[in-house]
């Protein structure tokens, strides 16, 4: 959708991401997806009267890791708050969250802009909260599962710095990649460990005040985020163009009908009566923790992109492909460490490695051979001992068999013949059976050279080193 140029969209995103902890945030139940309903539950996460929450230290550590990476200020003291509302997925009648004093304040995330130059998207805050349970609705009743109740969540709130659906999607991709690099979240949108609400408003271009905003909930894929935001921008623009007023509302994205529709009246929806959680004293990071985490925080996508540009001079496209997932870049770098030239390593990773990884339902590390084995294969190509095509065949076989490079090359008979005497013999055989063509060639029909190369390759079942074949044929065909 092309927004009418007289108007501009202003978008802020709220992302909820589940943290990769072993246990829940306030009790010792497993924080695990996929168990049968109500298996990972206890009196604490089911909100039984009289229970007390005890905070999981790992949640603090992971949140600080995200906050430091996002250049946020880490509050020395932050406060848990109760957010009160009624819904059957919330057994206590309140969610433990943070309100006035979140753990991380401000900061920004660098997102690659349309022109390739990084753009800073500012963050308002990052706070800690507990997830709710899950409902499914039947015609006659609703069903409740509390496995997810008390799973640790981060809410990451951006400033309204985004101006198009594409930009919003780019921000989300960057944020998700960052969380995955940091090993803070698996970012799995289908399983709900990375969820997004979008606040969208439209205003006359150049206006400094924000228009009334719509909050769109239920965006569980990048595709839906883009579609829903575009739909909402178009809807609000049409309202304003017709001289109407946009109503402040919460909309639900309907993936089937590809439209947003109002969810419920705002009147009571946002009256959560927050107050400080009396069961939890304020959250204080032990002395030295922030610095210790800063020292161990892994590299993030923006830093890796800058390093690849600087050290390897790769194209913007190659850098983008190699850094989207941490494991892909890790593999690329492992190939270089094993002695492969960075260009060959980049090409191989972007083509063969990603092809194999995408075709597999296994994580990358298990879908493809160890980097040392792939490096062996690529060195054989460099030494002309196998052809590039042979290497691809071997690699595909190794992905399936798990065999090492040398064994695979020999089992598939891929070793390339570079021995001049053997190749000369094959050339002689071809030239002696194609005397007419030889005469034509010598009469000036030089295009036939490729024909002779093809015949020799066929005779040697593709194993001859093409470079040697070229040399030998040139010599033999010389008048």
């Amino acid at each position: 959708m092309a927004a009418s140029s007289a108007y501009e969209a202003v978008i802020g995103l709220e992302v909820h991401t589940q943290l990769l902890t072993r246990s829940k945030i306030f009790c010792g139940c497993a924080n695990a997806f996929g168990a049968p309903p109500n298996h990972h539950v206890c009196p604490v996460c089911m909100g039984m009267p009289g229970v007390l929450p005890v905070f999981n230290r790992r949640v603090l550590e992971l949140t600080i890791r995200v906050g430091l990476t996002a250049h946020s200020q880490i509050a020395e003291r932050s406060v848990f708050a109760r957010k009160n509302y009624f819904y059957p997925d919330l057994p206590k009648g309140y969610q433990i969250s943070q309100y006035e004093r979140p753990l991380c304040v401000g900061g920004y995330i660098e997102v690659p802009g349309a022109d390739g130059a990084p753009r800073k998207i500012r963050l308002t805050r990052i706070h800690i909260e507990e997830d709710a349970g899950k409902n499914i609705h039947r015609p006659e009743a609703s069903l409740v599962d509390f496995n997810r109740s008390g799973a640790p969540l981060l809410e990451i709130v951006s400033e309204p710095d985004l101006h198009s659906a594409e930009e919003a999607a780019a921000y989300l991709r960057e944020l998700r990649a960052m969380l995955r690099y940091l090993e803070v979240s698996d970012g799995n949108m289908e399983e709900g460990s990375f969820r997004c609400d979008a606040n969208v408003s439209v205003r006359p271009r150049g206006a400094s005040e924000l228009g009334a905003k719509t909050e769109i909930k239920n965006l569980n894929s990048f595709k839906f985020v883009e579609k829903a935001i575009n739909h909402e921008i178009a809807r609000q623009t049409a309202v304003l163009q017709a001289g109407g007023k946009v109503e402040q509302q919460t909309h639900l994205w309907d993936a089937e009908r590809e439209e947003t529709r109002p969810m419920r009246s705002k009147e009571y929806a946002h009256d959560y009566r927050y107050f400080p959680e009396p069961d939890l004293p304020e959250l204080q990071a032990p002395p030295g923790l922030v610095e210790a985490i800063r020292a161990q925080t892994p590299e993030v996508p923006s830093a890796r992109r800058a390093r690849y540009a600087r050290d390897f001079g790769l194209s913007a496209y190659a850098i983008e492909v190699l850094t989207q997932e941490r494991e892909v870049g890790d593999y690329f770098e492992a190939l270089i460490k094993a002695g492969v030239h960075h260009k060959a390593a980049a090409n191989w990773t972007m083509s063969e490695v990603l092809r194999a990884a995408n075709a597999s339902d296994q994580p990358l590390i298990r879908a493809i051979p160890a980097a040392a084995q792939t490096a062996t294969l690529l060195k054989l190509v460099e030494q002309n001992r196998i052809s590039l095509n042979g290497a691809k065949t071997a690699f595909a076989a190794m992905c399936k068999s798990g065999q090492d490079a040398a064994a695979t090359v020999s089992a598939l008979g891929l070793a390339q013949v570079s021995d001049e005497a053997a190749i000369a013999e094959a050339c002689d055989l071809v030239l002696s059976t194609e005397t007419d063509k030889v005469a034509e060639y010598r009469a000036g029909h030089e295009k036939l050279f490729g024909f002779f190369v093809g015949r020799v390759m066929k005779t040697t079942q593709g194993k001859a080193n093409p470079k040697v074949v070229n040399e030998v044929l040139k010599r033999k065909l010389a008048p």
Binding site: T21, R22, S23, C27, G28, C29, A30, A35, P36, P37, N38, H39, H40, V41, C42, M46, V54, F55, N56, R57, R58, V59, L60, V79, F80, N84, F86, Y87, P88, N135, I136, H137, R138, P139, E140, A141, S142, L143, V144, D145, F146, M263, R264, Y268, D271, R273, P276, P278, L280, P281, E282, L283, Q284
Partner: protein, 102 residues
């Protein structure tokens, strides 16, 4: 105790709003009593305004400084049957509740 209307800190509208948020159904007599009680509480809290707290940092709690923390260890075993033992209704391992209408 008679309701002193002149001193109420919260109107009947306020009482009804809070009651609705708390999913409470009140009759007129209860509304009036709660208006009185809530007003008395608010008045009591207002006493704090008489103190000079200029140099005091806001605090949410008194007592312990710093929430106690536990290590990230799973200590609870799956306990679906225990969890569902007192459920008025269930379907498989799910709690079954009256249909939720958005």
């Amino acid at each position: 105790m008679p309701v002193r209307m002149a001193e109420t800190k919260i109107g009947l509208d306020g009482v009804r709003h809070v009651a609705r948020l708390a999913r409470l159904e009140l009759d007129a007599e209860q509304e009036a009593r709660l208006q009185h009680d809530l007003s008395a509480i608010l008045e009591y809290i207002e006493k704090l305004n008489e103190l000079d707290l200029g140099g005091v940092e806001p605090t949410a709690q008194v007592g312990e400084a710093g929430t106690p923390m536990r290590d990230d260890v799973v200590t609870n075993q799956p306990a679906a049957e225990a969890a569902l033992a007192n459920a008025p209704a269930r379907e498989g391992f799910w709690f079954k509740v009256p249909k939720i209408i958005e």
